[in-house]
C-alpha cells in the first residue's frame, strides 16, 4: 500500500465578504500549515469549485469521477454566514445538492449567535458552526473533517498508516461498518480519538435544543473500533 506522505497539504477555500476577516482566516489557516484560497462571495466560491448549474445528486448524467468538474482539489470550505447575495447557507445548500461538491466538508462562521441559524446549517450538512472571530483553537477542529475526504479520495486508504493498523481491507466511514472491516487504532491522535467518541455514522444528525451558547458539538463520522 505505497501511500503518499501523510503530511500532504490540505487545501481550504475561505469565503467572506469582509477583507479583514479574509485576512484573519487566511493567517489562521496558514499558521496550521493549510493551503488557503480566499474569495469574497459565494458565487466566486462555486466558480472556483467548478460548480455547474445542472450538477445535481439526482442527475441521470454519469460522470467519470467526482473530480470531473473540479480544477483544484479543495478539502474544506469555510464560509461566513452573512454575505450579500448568496449567504453561507445558500452556498452550503448548493454544494450539498451538487453531486461533485457534496462530499466537501463545509464549515460556517457567523458573528451572531442565533440557535435556529446554527441548527439550520448543521441540518443542511455543515460540519461545524463557529462564532466569529475565529481563534486558533477553532482551526484545530478542522483537520479531522479534512482527513475524512482524504480517506475517501485515496480509495479508502487511511491517511496515517504509521499510527494505525489495518486488520483486513479498510472501509469508508460513510458505509455501515462490519465486523471484519474494522480498523484497530494503536495510539490515535487526539482528533481521531474524538471521532471515536462521537461514533456516529449519520452526517445529518438532528440537533437537540440544549445547544451551548457559544459552540455546537462537532459531529464526527466515527470509525468503529472493535477489539481483536
Amino acid at each position: 500500500m505505497g501511500m503518499a506522505a501523510a503530511d500532504s497539504e490540505f487545501h481550504v477555500l475561505a469565503v467572506d465578504d469582509s477583507l479583514i476577516d479574509r485576512k484573519l482566516v487566511e493567517r489562521l489557516l496558514k499558521t496550521s500549515s493549510f493551503q488557503v484560497t480566499t474569495v469574497d462571495s459565494g458565487s466566486k466560491a462555486l466558480e472556483f469549485l467548478g460548480w455547474h448549474e445542472d450538477d445535481r445528486s439526482n442527475s441521470n448524467e454519469t460522470s467519470v469521477s467526482p473530480k470531473n468538474h473540479q480544477e483544484v482539489e479543495v478539502n474544506l470550505v469555510i464560509t461566513d454566514y452573512c454575505m450579500p447575495g448568496m449567504t453561507g447557507y445558500d452556498l452550503l445548500k448548493k454544494m450539498k445538492e451538487s453531486s461533485s461538491l457534496r462530499n466537501i466538508p463545509v464549515v460556517i462562521m457567523s458573528s451572531e449567535n442565533v440557535p435556529s441559524r446554527i441548527t439550520r446549517c448543521l441540518e443542511e450538512g455543515a460540519e461545524e458552526f463557529f462564532l466569529k472571530p475565529m481563534k486558533l483553537s477553532d482551526v484545530n477542529k478542522l483537520r479531522p473533517h479534512m482527513m475524512k475526504t482524504k480517506c475517501k479520495d485515496d480509495n479508502n486508504i487511511i491517511e496515517k498508516p504509521e499510527k494505525q493498523e489495518k486488520q483486513e481491507s479498510n472501509k469508508e466511514e460513510e458505509t455501515t461498518p462490519q465486523e471484519t472491516d474494522d480498523v484497530q487504532l494503536q495510539t490515535p491522535p487526539q482528533s481521531l480519538q474524538e471521532q471515536l467518541n462521537g461514533n456516529n455514522n449519520n452526517k445529518r444528525k438532528s440537533i437537540d435544543d440544549g445547544l451551548p451558547p457559544d459552540r455546537t458539538r462537532p459531529r464526527y463520522n466515527g470509525l468503529t473500533v472493535m477489539s481483536n
Binding site: D21, L24, R27, S111, P133, K135
Partner: protein, 162 residues
C-alpha cells in the same frame, strides 16, 4: 537594558488598553498570529481596520443625512463595523455598534445620530491608542514593537488575555 525597558513599556501600554476596555482578547489573538514570517501582521490588520472604519463612518454620516433614512442600509453598515471591530479586538467600538443596531431597529433617526457620534468618538479614541502602539501615523519612526525587535528583543505576549 534597553530592550527590557522597551518591552516593559509595550507591555504596560497594552495592559493599560486592556484594563480600560479599549482592547479585548481578540487583539492578543492577532499578536499570536504575528511571527518572523509575518512580522507586520498586526500593523496590516489594524491598518485595514482604520480604512474600513473610516469608509463606513463616512457612509453612515451620509446615510443619516438623507431626507428618508434607509434604516436597513444603516444597519448593514453598522453590522460591518461591528464585525471588523470585533475581529481586531476593538471592544468599545464593538459594544457601541451593538447598541447602535438596537436603536436602528427602532427606526429612531435621532437616536441613530447620537449613536453615530458615540461610535465616531470611540473609534477616534482607539485609533489614537493603536497608533501610539504601532506608530502607524508616522511610519518612518519605528513603532514600539519595531524598536524592540531592532534592539534584539521579542515582543512580549499577554497570555492573561488570550
Amino acid at each position: 537594558m534597553e530592550v527590557d525597558q522597551l518591552q516593559r513599556n509595550f507591555l504596560e501600554y497594552t495592559n493599560l488598553l486592556f484594563r480600560e476596555g479599549f482592547l479585548d482578547g481578540q487583539f492578543s489573538q492577532l499578536q499570536l498570529l504575528q511571527d518572523e514570517s509575518n512580522p507586520d501582521f498586526v500593523f496590516e490588520v489594524v491598518s485595514l481596520f482604520f480604512e474600513d472604519s473610516e469608509r463606513l463612518l463616512n457612509d453612515l454620516t451620509i446615510a443619516l443625512d438623507q431626507q428618508n433614512v434607509d434604516f436597513k442600509k444603516i444597519d448593514a453598515h453598522v453590522h460591518q463595523l461591528k464585525g471588523s471591530s470585533s475581529s481586531i479586538g476593538a471592544q468599545r467600538v464593538k459594544n457601541t455598534c451593538i447598541a447602535f443596531r438596537d436603536v436602528c431597529l427602532e427606526q429612531n433617526a435621532e437616536g441613530c445620530l447620537r449613536c453615530l457620534q458615540q461610535v465616531k468618538q470611540e473609534y477616534l479614541l482607539v485609533k489614537t491608542k493603536l497608533e501610539a502602539l504601532l506608530r502607524v501615523r508616522v511610519p518612518h519612526l519605528f513603532s514600539l514593537e519595531q524598536q524592540i525587535v531592532a534592539a534584539g528583543g521579542a515582543i512580549p505576549m499577554l497570555n492573561d488575555f488570550c
